[in-house]
Symmetry: C4
Amino acid sequence: MTTTRLESFSDGVLAVAITLLVLDLNVPHSDLAHALRTQWPEYAAYVTSFLTVGIIWINHHVMIGRLRAVDHAVMFLNLLLLMSVVVIPFSTNLMAEYLRARTGEHLAAAVYGGSLLAMGLSFGAMHRYILLGRHDLLAVELPIAQRRRIFARAVSGVTPYVVATAAAPLSPYLTLGITFAVAVFYALPAASTAG
Amino acid sequence: MTTTRLESFSDGVLAVAITLLVLDLNVPHSDLAHALRTQWPEYAAYVTSFLTVGIIWINHHVMIGRLRAVDHAVMFLNLLLLMSVVVIPFSTNLMAEYLRARTGEHLAAAVYGGSLLAMGLSFGAMHRYILLGRHDLLAVELPIAQRRRIFARAVSGVTPYVVATAAAPLSPYLTLGITFAVAVFYALPAASTAG
Amino acid sequence: MTTTRLESFSDGVLAVAITLLVLDLNVPHSDLAHALRTQWPEYAAYVTSFLTVGIIWINHHVMIGRLRAVDHAVMFLNLLLLMSVVVIPFSTNLMAEYLRARTGEHLAAAVYGGSLLAMGLSFGAMHRYILLGRHDLLAVELPIAQRRRIFARAVSGVTPYVVATAAAPLSPYLTLGITFAVAVFYALPAASTAG
Amino acid sequence: MTTTRLESFSDGVLAVAITLLVLDLNVPHSDLAHALRTQWPEYAAYVTSFLTVGIIWINHHVMIGRLRAVDHAVMFLNLLLLMSVVVIPFSTNLMAEYLRARTGEHLAAAVYGGSLLAMGLSFGAMHRYILLGRHDLLAVELPIAQRRRIFARAVSGVTPYVVATAAAPLSPYLTLGITFAVAVFYALPAASTAG
């Protein structure tokens, strides 16, 4: 299978997943002014997840753009990555609902952090396979030092999600704050892409 | 990243967002004839948002079509633009529900007008960056006077959304009327595109 | 704008709309065996709408495939067509719900027939503009007789939807039956496309 | 119609269908820890359906990649295939809900197995038409023995779904287990594709 095919299907899934995040925004059925004020975790979670999926999309292209062909393992790892991304509208909704209900919010934030962590780990696994395993699939051969550097940078991108998930039992707002900060940091033009 | 890539992902998000607007149309569970008559703000809002997103799509292509390449800032501004577009099915639903409930409809209309305004401002920011900032990204170099004219036209397209949002405390139907008129005006073949 | 651009955006909208039809299938919360038997109008409506949108997709490509370029009017008419297609998951759901509730089903069937009729009329308007109005947009010039023949065939495809809508006050099942028959007739390989 | 066109529309439908599976994951409104433990059939069904649709996507490309052109019958069979795929988010949800409710779960599992079986049969019908019927549509002519071998392999892929559906009256968990095992088996890099 060509990389074009893989990219276009992945683009489709990412585009639908990022747009389905809007379904997490609930139209309140009570006093609107009050609802809009108390719904802020919903908006923060929406922005965080939207930027995060957007960054995944950018990095996904950087990663696939390095390849000249894909094998079955790349497709399988890519499916795992997409499966973890598609879960994000659910975990975002879960955290927002429980933060608002002020019950079970520690566990809900851990699930949210964990879903971003799972996404990061799938990404890392795909990087590892491509850069350190089947580097004959690369369009342009890269020296081992550079491949290790790219892989290390991808792995380091996972660290904040470990911290965010671990912080959930302390404070679910800390989880939201860390993941929000990571999303903004990578989205801002100043930061180089993590791909 | 090539412009093709950016366009195809943006197309995907816009296509999903425009189609998700159908979820704002509720199947009533009471007397159908009565419901269909009283649901008209829902239909008006649906048509307004559908045409508005359709016009964004057309203008987005005109804008991206001017570029030969994109940098990280363009991708970030594009993500902001898509984030504001993806919110539209939510803000449309919000306004329609509160107009029907005849409570909180002033605030709901302001949120709707504000979401279109945010979209217009993201669009303006992207135009500003491309036309006045990094005009070396343009596929064909344009004289500064022409670039300023295109930017001014894009900015002027934001004005009605300022008015529509400001009109919400007076009358939510005025907000709906203005945004509907803007959508029809730009959609009609006679009007030149605002891109 | 190139036809490729228009086709790929329209493909996206049609693909999302056809898939959103699955949301019209409700998971019952009562005795499953009984529910599956009484839900048959839902399944019939799902199959009808799925095949209908599928046929629109095929005919849309045949129509756009004839063009060498598109102007603003074609884009506007295309937006109208897409707007009528995107409504179909809603009108399908509406008819299915009211058929099951055995109340208001005549009006609901008229809305369903009317939504397919609106789609057919948008299609006809687009055909008329392309074939009889701006035929200089055609990739290959066609003699006026052939253009009239193609247009007449497209218009004749609207007739059953007029009948189906008119039949709703008599029997909503007749509306469903006619639209189902039309969908199967055009889908079957034997029938030539109506494009 | 070119195969590119057919592939890109099918890709769109498959990408939306696979992403809509996330809507089957419900945010519980009770004690979260308890809900997450008892919701496991939902997660198992999500993973099963996600991998299954992912494998369909891979095999679909292998199948279409063999063609140089498509006729109306291929498009019709492809529509049937997509119609069965689009139903999967519904049948997945149905099984998960009834497994959790511990009532009607035998019938719900049979519906789920049956929906995967319908998908496999549509796939088989498309293979049969292409490989044994209109093999002049193939881009590269294949000897009859090889065409029969590919078809036999596709048919054999249907067998586990027959077993899974037949097992539903015995145990719905057996249905889930078999379909899960099939999905993992084909997804794992070791297994060759069934296309």
